[in-house]
């Protein structure tokens, strides 16, 4: 009785990690340096990039948003109307907290690795 269950779980775990691997791969190949603003949320909430990467935020809401950073660690954007974008190139490693300066409940993080 036990053996098939174990076999199944092992198989499941293998398939699961393969799927997870392919998802990670797809994200890496896609655009890990883009942040979408949708429904008053930054997606993804945390973005991890290598130093020197340009991150681009695009507003998909019907309401303008603006990108500002805690302690002005990077320059703030102008107000982004629907479909407007803002880009910034992160050269220094570190963790950057940012928020919408019009709707400050909206927060996100950029992690810049060496």
């Amino acid at each position: 009785m036990l053996r098939p269950i174990i076999a199944c779980s092992v198989l499941g775990a293998v398939v699961g990690s393969l799927l997870a691997g392919s998802v990670l791969f797809a994200r890496a190949e896609g655009a890990p340096n883009t942040v979408t603003i949708d429904n008053f949320f930054f997606t993804p909430a945390t973005t991890t990039v290598k130093a020197g990467t340009t991150v681009t935020w695009t507003n998909k809401d019907d309401i303008p948003h603006g990108i500002g950073s805690a302690n002005n660690a990077f320059p703030k954007s102008k107000a982004l109307d629907t479909d407007d974008s803002y880009s910034f190139t992160f050269s220094a490693p570190g963790t950057y907290q940012y928020f919408c300066y019009l709707h400050p409940k909206m927060v996100g993080t950029i992690v810049v690795e060496q």
């Binding site: 019907d62 303008p64 805690a70 107000a79 907290q97 928020f99 019009l102 400050p104 409940k105």
Partner: protein, 312 residues
Amino acid sequence: MSEIDQRDGINRRKVLECMTWCGTGVLWTIAGGVPHSLGIMGEAQAAESRGLTFLQISDSHVGFDKPANPNALGTLEEAIAKVNALPQKPAFMIHTGDISHLSKEKEFDDADHIISQSRLDVHYVPGEHDLIDADQGKIYRDRYGKAAKGAGWYSFDANGVHFIGLVNVVDLKAGGLGNLGNEQLEWLEADVKSRSASTPIVLFAHIPLWTVAQDWGWGTQDGAQALSYLKKFGSVTVLNGHIHQVMQKVEGNVTFHTARSTAFPQPAPGTAPSPGPMKVPDDQLRKMLGIANVTFKQNEQRLAIIDSPLQG
């Protein structure tokens, strides 16, 4: 809000009715200190000349052209036509911010062109949409804030009522709510200090001064601090916009009220994934936009506030 009992003030049912509304404007009556919501515009006439009547409009968002209302300038024009049709002319108007959608000169021009047709003096406070030009509010301050302090706060008196316009949309902090800031709070404390406790106070600002919905940022971080300076006053009325729907709350000596937008409705807290513009069927839109009329009557405890939708 069509049933008004001017002796008992607003009961729970009326408040709830009020909260289900979303629309055009509010008619306020200040009576002996506390504001009073009257109902629809027609009833405002009944309040008539026994006191001071003024008008509140909010959130015109001129320049907004998205599906929730492709013609925000048109609905502002309808709101002003409604003001002009009032049988009794209000003393003046307050605008609780978001005049424009993107702080463009043309949006302010268009708004001014329509609003001036009311031939009323208008006292403005900015919304966050009014301060997003390249110079962070210079256009707004040049037009509306010449006589104001700081980012645009000021006070004035009318018929024995002290009006205070505050700005809570500047220097917002990550993760936070609306923000008044220390400089403005100090000014407010000094502004009210020497006034007698019997002076009715009307405080107006864009974002609600009390927390309506924390998750959506519908509140003001240091709003309670501001209200602490007003404890001695028998009658304090707080008029806000920003949330594009009517809500009212009475707490001790303070009555809080939010007005409808003239541009587009927003969802009630918790009923949608985000507070963004709410698309409703075309025949419903004008029932969710509106104006507010407020009347102050001598020797009565409350301001009478009439929220009236553009339609229905």
